[in-house]
Symmetry: C2
Subunit: 182 residues, 2 copies
DNA sequence: TTTAATGTACCGACCGGACGGTACAGTAAT
DNA sequence: ATTACTGTACCGTCCGGTCGGTACATTAAA
């Protein structure tokens, strides 16, 4: 892995294809072509399509972890407010044109089993941190609302205007940092 | 369409396959076999796979409309509380082992364009009714939370226990029928 | 009243193309 | 010598869709 640029280029290309054209169009040939790597090169890095999908999901989760760390650095007074951190993760993720979590889409389409890692990760975050501190119902509802918005984007089903989205996100963050009743 | 039993059998089979084995396994042959119809018979009713997917989505939306009507009959005092009706739709939908909205999954995997009808339908319900009456933020958050839970089930990503799900659903309904702050 | 024609619903063998994956010889940097 | 590829040719399977037929019910002319 002396020149691991190709690995990232391949993963970027795969994400881009899924985001733009749908999971069904994410063929090995298409990914190779788009990433500027030969098919042989692709197979060198990811011996099967499943390996590629798994790597996409792994990278997605790594990125989310990085995001959490950055946010904790940037907002030190919210360090231990896991719900607020998560709200900011969703908020920041929504600013990108295409959610990086398209990997989930591709995996679900190809082989739903691949998502078990992601499920466990979410479960960990949700149960161990977010809900532990405060009112379960309140935390759960706020988290699920942010998740719902994210899924709407991911599935390209969003019926919200940019302004509506932003407003709701700000409200969710406000509620996550505050203590008002829903 | 004098004896449309086959049509329904085919749609049922397609849903079952997507729900149990994933969208990628929903091949025409598999659907035909499962529905007890020959491939030729399937193609007679649905000339292309896209037509089948479209029919699945159409039926999904029709069913949701029926559900709304039933709920309005069953809970006449909530007739005009669109948010509460929608909460009950989500609640009732979650009671089935597999959400009927697996059609969405199949469509997204095959051809994301097919979901535009569903998006418009959601938009209509959301903007015209749910949000019209009360506090936008509150309604939106409650709706999105219910949607988030639904998507978790749909994508087989749910990390919530049965009890947690039920509790949250009841809380959402309570909030939708009441006036408390979140 | 027999007969011919028409339409509906369905069967299942088959075809062509796409796709995941293999194989392998060569190359260029480290 | 190892690593990280390129390039190309190829293979077998799977899948969407085609096509020629069948069975049967209804209608309509002779």
């Amino acid at each position: 892995m002396a020149r691991p640029d190709s690995r990232h280029a391949i993963l970027d290309a795969a994400e881009a294809i899924v985001g733009q054209s749908g999971a069904a169009r994410m063929t090995l040939d298409a990914v190779a072509k788009r990433s500027g790597v030969s098919k042989g090169g692709l197979i060198y890095h990811f011996p099967t399509k499943e390996a590629l999908l798994q790597a996409m999901i792994d990278r997605m989760m790594e990125r989310a972890d990085l995001m959490r760390e950055e946010i904790r650095k940037k907002f030190p007074d919210e360090r231990s407010n896991h719900l607020a951190v998560e709200m900011r993760v969703f908020q920041q993720g929504a600013e990108q044109k295409r959610p990086q979590s398209v990997a989930l889409l591709a995996a679900i389409a190809a082989n739903p089993d691949l998502t078990s890692g992601a499920r466990e990760e979410m479960s960990r975050h949700f149960n161990a941190h977010i809900v532990s501190g405060g009112d379960f119902h309140r935390s759960a509802i706020l988290f699920l609302a942010a998740l719902g918005m994210h899924f709407l984007d991911l599935l390209n089903l969003s019926f919200l205007t940019k302004e509506q989205k932003q407003e709701i996100q700000e409200e969710l963050l406000r509620l996550a940092t505050g203590n008002e009743g829903i």
